[in-house]
Amino acid sequence: MINQFILSLISGIFIGGVAGYLGSLMLSKRMALVAGPLGHLTLPGIALALIYGFDISLGAFPFVILGIVLIWLFEARTKLPMEALTAIVFASGVAIAFFFLPIEQAETALVGDISKIQFKEAIITLILCLFILFLTKKIYPKITLINISEDLATTQKINVKKYNLIYLILIALIVALGVKIVGGLLTAAIVAIPASSARNLAKNLSQYKFLALIFGILSSAFGIFLSKLTFLPAGPLIIVVSAFIFLISAILKK
């Protein structure tokens, strides 16, 4: 049997790296923070998973999808700004979760716990991460053009709606996986911080993508190592390491 620590480390590295990579795409549409509210929204799902003892990502995923659909429906109906709707929907998610979240497991729900990941769960995580990585790489140029201008993308005969849908599904997936390592509260950080650090240093798009991936991996790896040494929870440590990398990148930025 593979050592539990190695299992956690590998899972964390995969999720962190892929979140950083996808985050680089989200940052360029000023969408990185969307992962925050979506993460908060997963809390009722995580609570259910903890009560009934199934995988928290499995609990989280339908709630992310529900959140996206709700925000989209409200937007079409009320024409209120996206951030106001997002705030309404995510706050409701947190509120509802607190009615039945088992208090002794609140930490796992809020800031994640990768240290007890099971073998089967880890394998599924790795496969999903590879799937997200592959698909993100595939849609990257088209989404980049859509991010620059939907009008230009349309003149290139790109099906904007189709690509946006794939993109949203990928975001939902990474948020659902992200709650495993950083919980429902901190998901925005694993997509936003590595990409922001990468932006500080990158001279072009390929460096930017690569650095975001690497910073995501490094943050997870060091965070999980530090957790092993200090017995502090890994989720917050990953974010702290990530923020530290950001600090260095901000200093090094020319």
């Binding site: 549409k29 000023r30 053009l145 620059i148 009008d151 230009l152 003149t155 072009n204 798009l205 930017y208």
Partner: protein, 229 residues
Amino acid sequence: MENSILKVENLDVELEEEEILKDLSFEVKEGEVLTILGPNGAGKTVLLKTLLGILPYEGEIAWKAEIKIGYVPQRLPFIKDIPLSVKEFFDLENVSENETKEILKSIGVEEEILKKKIGDLSSGQFQRILIGWALAPNPEVLLFDEPLAGIDIGGQESVYNLLEKLEKEKNLTILFVTHELSIVYKLADEVLCLNKKMLCYGLPKEILTPERIGQLYSGEVKFYEHKHD
């Protein structure tokens, strides 16, 4: 008409229950430059976007079958959020490296610019790159939306010269949106004056009378006289 590239009839555009364009009819022939002239807020950009198929409309828009259209937007506010080099920008539309270099030559930009970040370009260079980007896939027609401001001094003038040169070189058809009256005389074969409705349409020297211009800009005339060359 045989060499007609675009025929528009009774075009109406309404956005969020506000009438933006009313009853436009015009035709563009191959190799022609049509200037769309009007004050800010006249619906010029909306017209271009409608022609591109981005906005909903009523009436007829008939492009020549399977025509390739290049589009130079007025502004791309989000592009500077992305650390994109000029080369990577061209890569987004799947043109080969040779085609990219070819187009840089024809827009009068050095190859070294390929390594530069889009965000580090001057506004004049950026404008040229946008034109090059639109022309790289070899379109037959170019839709050009003039930026309102922010082109460095001297830059704007040379963009007009560039368009004039490209039009001849590539036998391009150009639809050119502007609020600058002086440009009309320089570039246009035909002019369409627009302020939500079509106020005039025809040869610039025949139809651009001071009364019409006054009517077009109704109180907003910034242009008092002009010289013919």
